[in-house]
Symmetry: C2
Subunit: 368 residues, 2 copies
DNA sequence: GCGGATTTGTTGTATGGATGAACTTATATC
DNA sequence: GATATAAGTTCATCCATACAACAAATCCGC
């Protein structure tokens, strides 16, 4: 996309676009490629692309059985990725956060030594985070409750410089998914993040729909199967979460989820039941928020072909608008650790949305 | 609110605000009140208010047992309101729309004769409307399906001049409710419209959350009570809709809903069960979209004190974020026929959002 | 191989919406 | 009545963008 194309698609003049591009180049947010003499007559256009490895954001994640840090640049490249596998069920928050901060500190210093500007950091957590700064209210599968993550991480000097944005794991993963799907215009979908817990997020035109506190999309806790009375009835997570699935299939909880696909009759029944439960919960979601696409992420990504038909049957039967909606059920397209890269991407997107603020801030810190 | 206050709260200078106010006054969108010598020293401020009876929008509605037309001006006054009661269950679309058009035509000509500018019209329908122009896909309780409302109404010359925006009854009612609640900043809530059907809408910061087609909020069709299997299970509307409620209470369907409040033991049980069903469905809504307030409208407005405790019990038990959310369950505050006035209000809000476009359009039509 | 057509990017000058400071108007207070 | 205070207006200035002309780099036809 050249200056002239930008001008044509935005309605600004080429002169204006040139001036703006000048600033972005100076800020190292974009770069020029070699002009490629096309088939058309006229002076060849200078293609503009996101800059490579000049400005990065750090994405971090603490999840049930791993923690990790990655960096991504404006071009979406991942110059660094560090993962530590461990079991954090019922863990002590302090030491876990210290390990993360340690890892993140190493990554940040490595990058700044290479002259790369670190624009910001983000941390994905499997629970309810109160705004992007607030405490982690509840992370059921870690066993954490009311943890002031930001205050703890600020004790580490490197992270105090770039205090992380906190976000829900599923919400940030959905951002990564939205990025992966944004070819041909922004996407709208419901993202289902299947892990030990089941999270979710609603994306409209490429933007997360967070709600008042940012706690939208908790589809794992939608009530199902009330058995005729309204007093009982389990939630989706208890029926279709990773542990529930493996238990129902008679497999050990340490088994790979892929084992379900040729796990015999019990596994088949477990998958059918999980798909029905997912379909029922998703029918509620789609009656409430009108989107046309369900994206299955986490453990469901690999199971998507197996689950989709039964999910679709529930949706077709129960979603009022189904006859006029081109409902789609798809496997997630974002890579491994989408929450981590999604968080980093959110930071970079904020810069892309308001490059002026970043340029100003950059000059200020240069002046110090 | 004076020019100086506007300047202070927007960050613009008083000079700029004065210039803009000048235009709005010329367009008759706002008016000046008498300066009131306050307690403060200094020149008294000239209060500015929405103009009265100079620019109006027409709100129309076709519902199951009435149709109507009203006009409201920028100040929210209702200079005209015309209602016709009738039963439109399983009606023929054509004649019903003709009756509405007839009524609307009279209202419009009356107003224009008085020198009032009609900014636009809106029509509320109890069903799925495909965008604000598109056909009415489905109105279950009217028995209408795929009706091209706009084309039919355009056959009436007066309405062809001001083609209506089409909208879902619950969505437009929620707009009226948002307007009634916008004191002290925009409101976020889930609106439940209890009628023969149960509609709903999600409002975030005063804006309807429509989704891809504008079909969000169909909570009447959320599935409940699956009896252990996922194949069966009714929807909320069948359990807590007006007809279901009256049937369960052993009352005739023509009875007033208020009769339930002292309808004996059967009515009590029916109300309990409806409240539980509403609570369960709303728990799904609140897990999926994070808002803190549920507004009960339609028939539920009058029943709110009776229903709220049981609804709240369900929400507290089932909404993951309930412990950190100040959940409120309230009766609707908008007046009678909220969908009608909400539609009209939506038209006026569009003008308030972009007064320049209206001023331009006004000058154009004056030039003709 | 060279002039014309074509498209890109840049360099001016012009303009419209907002700013900021000074000014006028209208009140309260001492 | 003098002074302080606040509201609204006037006017010179600024800044981002538009507009127009130009330079640069390619393709095309003869």
């Amino acid at each position: 996309m050249s200056r002239a194309e930008v001008a044509a698609s935005t309605g600004l003049t080429r002169a204006t676009v040139s001036a703006l591009v000048e600033q972005l180049l100076a800020a190292r947010l974009i770069r020029e490629l070699e002009p490629v003499a096309g088939q058309r007559a006229g002076r060849p256009a200078v293609p503009l692309t996101a800059a490579l490895d000049t400005v990065v954001a750090i994405g971090m994640e603490i999840n049930v059985d791993y923690l990790g840090v990655c960096a991504i640049d404006m071009a979406g490249q991942v110059p660094v990725e560090r993962i530590v596998h461990d079991d954090f069920r019922r863990s002590e928050p302090g030491p876990v956060m210290d390990r993360l901060a340690q890892l993140a500190g190493e990554v940040v210093t490595t990058l700044t030594d290479r002259g790369v500007a670190v624009a910001g950091t983000a941390l994905a957590l499997p629970g309810l985070v109160d705004s992007i700064t607030g405490p982690l209210r509840l992370a059921p599968n870690l066993g954490w409750r009311d943890v002031d993550v930001l205050a703890h991480l600020a004790r580490h000097p490197v992270l105090a410089q770039v205090p992380p944005w906190l976000g829900n794991e599923a919400n940030l993963a959905a951002i990564a998914e939205a990025r992966a799907r944004r070819v041909g215009g922004p996407a709208s979908f419901v993202y289902v993040s299947g892990e030990v817990g089941i999270g979710g997020a609603i994306v409209l035109d490429g933007t997360i729909f967070g709600g008042v506190h940012g706690w939208s999309g908790e589809i794992g806790h939608v009530a199902l199967g009330t058995e005729g009375s309204f007093d009982r009835g389990g939630q989706l997570e208890e029926l279709a979460g990773q542990d529930a699935l493996l238990d129902a299939a008679g497999l050990p909880r340490t088994a790979a989820v892929a084992a379900l696909l040729d796990g015999g009759e019990r596994a088949e029944r477990a998958l059918d039941r999980a798909a029905d439960a997912l379909g029922l919960a998703l029918s509620a979601v789609l009656n409430i928020v009108d989107v046309e696409c369900v994206v299955l992420g986490g453990i469901y990504a690999g199971l998507a072909p197996r689950l989709a038909p039964r999910i679709r049957a529930q949706l077709d039967a129960r979603v009022l608008s189904a006859p006029w909606s081109a409902l789609r059920i798809e496997a997630a397209a974002a890579g491994r650790f989408p929450a981590m890269s999604g968080g980093a991407w959110a930071v970079l997107e904020a810069i892309a949305d308001d490059p002026e603020a970043w340029v100003r801030g950059d000059e200020e810190s240069a002046a110090l």
